[in-house]
């Protein structure tokens, strides 16, 4: 059995990341000649029908009041109990923070290794995984030597697909025995993100680095982002100088994004930053240094000062659109 951890959207459907993991699980299960099983928290809803189309034979639904908050330790403990009972060959989960945390707890409970941020899993003797290191600049081939192989997958690894022939999905409701004596963190407040463009969802991110020069210098980036329907980001230099909040930081220790277009203004492109934007579909670099790594890696480049180039671009956009 290849057990797949399903994260669910607000409407109960599998998240995009979960769908990717399901596709990977199916490939793996085929290689092993084993069935695909899934585990999710909550009620069945339409989930069995959805999973049937994705080749899942068995769905385990974890139900416990402590799980409602999404606590990774509770989810991990529940998952560990299920895994201990089912003894799957492998457990795959999305590489989101929440699932990684739950998987880490489960792995600790089970006393097995966990390979995070995997891009590939290869059964064998022993099993091998390929995983991302250093923010994805490096790939690591690692032996995963365990009776049950736990792994989380980087988003975007395999292409999600639906199978032609739907399986019959059997649903098991499992009520885990969560230890109430263990002190746990409790969710006491949740404030939904204000509607609007975020770094991760924006199709265009206009980001600035050292070359912007000051907090005030970002006004021109804000203006361009507004015109093209994008969000504003920044490099670590800008955060460290107090020019922008950390939430705007793109990079290894900030946000990793994959917009349609990344406009890098006055950003040299150090590794720390590059890993945050390297999944952008295309990059436009504006920089005074034609040899800056960001320029040499960009799709398009303009050699020049941010504060000369951007105002001219804004003027040109306004001229063409008559605004």
């Amino acid at each position: 059995m290849v057990l797949t951890v399903i994260e669910r959207n607000g409407d109960g459907t599998p998240t995009a990341e979960s769908a990717e993991v399901l596709a990977a699980a199916r490939d793996l299960a085929e290689q092993l000649g084993e069935p695909v099983a899934a585990v999710a928290v909550g009620d069945a809803g339409d989930l069995p029908d959805d999973l049937a189309k994705r080749g899942v034979a068995q769905l385990h639904l974890l139900q416990h009041e402590l799980l409602a908050e999404g606590s990774p330790s509770c989810a991990g403990e529940a998952l560990a109990q299920l895994v201990a009972a089912q003894r799957p060959a492998a457990v795959l989960a999305p590489g989101t923070d929440r699932s990684t945390e739950a998987m880490a707890w489960a792995a600790a409970e089970l006393g097995v290794p966990l390979a995070t941020a995997c891009t590939e899993i290869r059964p064998g003797e022993p099993w091998e995984v390929t995983r991302e290191r250093s923010g994805g600049i490096l790939l690591e081939d690692a032996a995963l030597d365990a009776p049950i192989r736990l792994a989380t997958l980087r988003p975007g690894a395999p292409a999600p697909s639906e199978t032609a022939a739907a399986h019959e999905v059997t649903v098991h409701v499992v009520v885990p025995d969560l230890d109430t004596s263990v002190p746990r963190a409790r969710l006491v407040d949740r404030q939904p993100r204000a509607a609007g463009m975020t770094l991760t969802t924006a199709p265009v991110v206009v980001a600035g680095g050292r070359g912007v020069g000051s907090a005030e210098g970002y006004a021109v980036l804000e203006e361009l982002a507004g015109l093209v329907g994008g969000a504003v980001g920044c490099s670590r230099v800008a955060t460290n100088n107090g020019w922008r909040p950390h939430a705007d930081q793109v990079g290894l220790t900030g946000t990793r994004i994959s917009p349609e277009l990344y406009v890098a203004c006055g950003i040299s492109g150090a590794t720390q930053h590059w890993v945050g934007c390297m999944n952008a579909r295309s990059i436009l670099a504006v920089n005074t240094d034609p040899e800056a790594p960001m320029v040499t890696r960009a799709t398009w480049a303009v050699i020049g000062d941010v504060h000369e180039v951007l105002p001219a671009v804004i003027t040109e956009i306004r001229r063409r659109s008559g605004r």
């Binding site: 240094d289 034609p290 040899e291 800056a292 790594p293």
Partner: protein, 836 residues
């Protein structure tokens, strides 16, 4: 991506401050089709120019370095890239206070405004400094911070605007092709460029680039640690990059300078951390830049303690953080001097390496002038890459001396101080005897030469020689030298001169070749010994040496050990291409013993059957003698003013020669004598000039008093300038000054060492009509005259014999008298002793 031209008049590799300055000055001097390439991006390709602390203290004990720094500061200022902030070298110890006095003398000698100030005055200029740990300060108002990256950009722009320069960044040199001993083509990852001239201005990478052409640039990258601490309110409030004087805290070997809101602290105190040029990371693989290596905090901790002592008031604050810390790379050489000039191995391949930021533009001008005219305005001898002997180019030697030299960067280096590392590389065959006699060895070009012999200690009392009471005066010195001197003058001494560099010049073109390089007439009978100046194209001294005609087409050239490598390169460069002259370095094949003194003939006659009488063997001639079973080439001449000979034998027979002379000399009171006698006391009594001291490119034979009576018909290098100088009045005359009974404020007799300024009786500086200052070129005891002698060039108005002047030495001034203007010796003015 730019593509490169197919050919260039000159390719300059390296776009740091030096490379940019070279292209600028080449363009200014009329060079065209100049190509400047760098492996890195512009304006900061990642070399040491990009992370240097960028300050310039104009005063150095070395005249050449002071001139280069002064020229560079003028250039930086002219480009608008110099900010004058002033600088203070502070002393925490009495020994350093003395060194600051010495600095003061150098400042006065070179004409740079400076003064010694009290701790309170130091604190007035730098209010956040704790004056209680300071004894004195050496204040130089013209100390400045420069912007070498911007200066480099401007210099490139000027050369480009002149239509002279193509710049190609991100261009890696892959190979330098040579043919018939000269550069022909530079191969890069962006194409190949034909060129007959290549300048390597690659800083710490220079050894790698030169090796592509088969040449050596003997430097090693080494770490210099720097940190930035801030923000500091007082500094930020100035709103300027630098508003306070730079402080060199000399005793802990470190400096502190404002850099905006931060205080930058740099150190030359930590253990020497050397790096191999091959181990410098690439631009991409380096975390900061290739020449900013990861900081090693353990090495810097003592500096932090020292910095807290001096600047505790601003550094001991919770918000003053260490914001930047690097192990920056700089270049170290075996003797601490730059590596400039055409490499001796490959014609057309020039080195412009091991240069500090404060000297960069000046070096650019020097190299460009040298490439254009064959001689730069500033004497390059001490920086000439050709000065280094073969062993001094080895990795082991470079690393040993760089290791030893690093902590001397801010150290107190005595003018006679000897190196302790990598000694004993070159030993004469006499070494075992000398060692047994307790020789104190000084080094020249790797040769171990006895400076004096402890076995002669008893002579000190016998001759009543006084010791020097002040430690600084007596350091690296012994009264034995004066005793050996007196023993020689009274009896006879033998002196190991095997460190001489000797070349054989043979072939049908030999005479013409030597005529072209020397001032004296070389077409003399076989067996004649001729002393001659060797000039540069501008008529300044390149060398002075002795030539012996051994056959119609066979000459032996004998030159000083420290000058040998440069002279060999100079001679080699001038060999005719037709192969008519064979030049052979026979230095290692020949050992030399000098035998001088009134009893020298008695000793020599006792060991040879040949006739050594004055009739049979007159002065200024050479003959082959047989001493026992050893054939010896004997040269009757003297640098010490006594009857005697230089005896040249095969190296492997050297011990035989020594033992034969020592045995025969015993009844005549023969003593071994050291170079202290040969190079200082005896030669100064005789008014003989020494290359590198009195003789340099700034002065020609006329001013040095070495003009020959006649002017030979044959053309020779420097003849036009020499002829012109002979026709006019000299602007300065080399004089010998007498220092009589100089006592300091505490009543101790004192002995200046050389380098001190010569002042008018009222303490004014003396310069000649060309602006050249008068300073002591050599200083030494004159035991037979009972005085201490100094040599100095003086302009005519001060050069009259009997004129009273002053010499400033370690903070005090001593009266001196011009004892001799010109070359006539003070001791035995008619040379009767050596001609006897």
């Amino acid at each position: 991506m730019s593509s490169l031209p197919d050919r260039a008049q000159v390719v300059v590799i390296g776009a740091g401050i030096v490379g940019n300055a070279v292209v600028h000055h080449l363009a200014r001097l009329g060079w065209r089709d100049i190509l400047l390439v760098d492996k890195g991006p512009l304006p900061d390709p990642g070399g040491s120019t990009g992370h240097a602390s960028n300050f310039a203290f104009p005063v150095d004990h070395s005249r050449e370095i002071t001139l280069l720094t002064g020229d560079s500061m003028r250039q930086y200022a002219e480009l608008g890239t110099l900010t004058t902030c002033g600088g203070i070298e502070v002393a925490r110890t009495p020994e350093r206070v003395q060194e600051l006095h010495r600095r003061m003398s150098s400042a006065r000698a070179w004409g740079i405004d400076a003064e010694l100030i009290s701790p309170a005055e130091v604190a007035e200029k730098v209010p956040f400094l704790d004056p209680s740990v300071v004894l004195a300060g050496f204040w130089t108002p013209s100390v400045a911070v420069v912007d070498p990256l911007r200066a480099g950009e401007l210099m490139r722009e000027r050369a480009v605007a002149a239509g002279a320069l193509t710049v190609s960044a991100m261009t890696e040199v892959l190979a330098i092709e040579t043919g018939r001993g000269r550069v022909r083509r530079v191969r890069t990852d962006r194409g190949d460029v034909d060129s007959e001239h290549v300048v390597v201005a690659c800083g710490v990478w220079s050894p790698r680039i030169a090796a592509l052409a088969g040449a050596t640039i003997p430097l090693t990258p080494a770490v210099h640690q720097m940190i930035d601490v801030g923000p500091i309110e007082e500094l930020a409030a100035t709103g300027r990059e630098i508003a306070f004087p730079i402080v060199r805290d000399m005793d802990p070997l470190m400096y502190e300078r404002q850099s905006g809101a931060d205080l930058e602290i740099g150190s030359y105190a930590h253990r020497p951390i050397l790096c191999d040029p091959d181990d410098i990371p690439s631009l991409a693989a380096a975390a900061l830049s290739p020449t900013q290596l990861p900081f090693t905090p353990d090495d810097f901790d003592p500096q932090m303690e020292a910095a807290l002592e001096l600047f505790g008031g601003i550094l001991d604050r919770p918000d003053a953080g260490i914001r930047h810390a690097i192990n920056g790379l700089l270049s170290l050489t075996p003797d601490g001097h730059p590596l400039l000039g055409e490499t001796p191995e490959v014609r057309g391949l020039w080195s412009a390496a091991a240069v500090w930021i404060k000297e960069g533009p000046g070096v650019g001008r020097l190299i460009a002038e040298w490439m254009t005219d064959g001689a730069p305005e500033i004497d390059p001898a001490a920086a000439d890459i050709a000065r280094l002997a073969p062993h001094e180019r080895t990795r082991a030697h470079v690393r040993a001396r760089a290791t030893e030299g690093f902590n001397k960067t801010y150290g107190i280096t005595h003018p006679r101080e000897q190196w302790s590392s990598d000694r004993g590389v070159r030993r004469s065959p006499f070494f075992p005897r000398e060692e047994a006699l307790g020789a104190e060895f000084f080094e020249v070009a790797g040769w171990e030469r006895p400076q004096w012999y402890r076995s002669n200690e008893h002579l000190v009392a016998e001759h009543g020689v006084a010791d020097r009471p002040h430690e600084w005066d007596a350091r690296w010195w012994s009264p034995i030298t004066n005793a050996e001197h007196l023993a020689m003058r009274r009896g006879v001494a033998m002196i190991d001169l095997s460190a001489f560099s000797q070349f054989d010049v043979r072939g049908p073109g030999a005479l013409g070749f030597l005529q072209h390089l020397t001032v004296a007439q070389m077409d003399r009978p076989v067996g004649r010994v001729v002393y001659t100046p060797v000039l540069g194209p501008d008529g300044g001294f390149r060398s002075d040496l002795t030539v012996v005609r051994l056959g119609d087409a066979h000459f032996r050239v004998v030159t000083g050990g420290s000058d040998g490598a440069r002279d060999l390169a100079w001679f080699t460069r001038h060999l005719p291409p037709d192969g008519s002259v064979a030049l052979t370095d026979v230095t290692s094949a020949v050992c030399t013993l000098g035998l001088w003194g009134p009893r020298a003939r008695d000793v020599l006659a006792a060991v040879t059957d040949d006739d050594v009488s004055d009739d049979a063997f007159p002065f200024a001639t050479a003959r082959w003698l047989t001493i026992g079973s050893v054939p010896v080439l004997a040269l009757r001449l003297s640098y010490v003013g006594e009857l005697g000979w230089e005896l040249h034998a095969a190296t492997e027979s050297g011990l035989r020669l020594w033992d034969a002379l020592a045995a025969a000399g015993e009844p005549h009171g023969l003593v071994p004598a050291g170079i202290g006698v040969y190079g200082t006391t005896a030669r100064m009594e005789k008014g003989y000039r020494l290359m590198g001291h009195e003789l340099d490119a700034e002065h020609g034979p006329v001013e040095a008093g070495l003009a020959l009576p006649g002017l030979k018909a044959q053309d020779f290098v420097g003849k036009a300038a020499y002829t012109k100088a002979r026709e006019g009045e000299p602007e300065a005359t080399l004089c010998t000054l007498r220092l009589d009974d100089a006592r300091d404020a505490s009543g101790l007799p004192r002995y200046p060492q050389g380098g001190e300024p010569v002042l008018t009786p009222d303490g004014g500086r003396i310069t000649d009509s060309r602006g050249r200052p008068s300073y002591v070129t050599s200083a030494g005891a004159a035991p037979s005259l009972g005085t201490h002698l100094l040599m100095a060039y003086l302009p005519p108005r001060h050069a009259g014999e009997g004129t009273g002047l002053l010499v400033e030495y370690l903070g005090e001034r001593y009266p001196v008298t011009v004892a001799r203007a010109g070359r006539t010796p003070l001791f035995d003015p008619d040379d009767t002793r050596m001609r006897g």
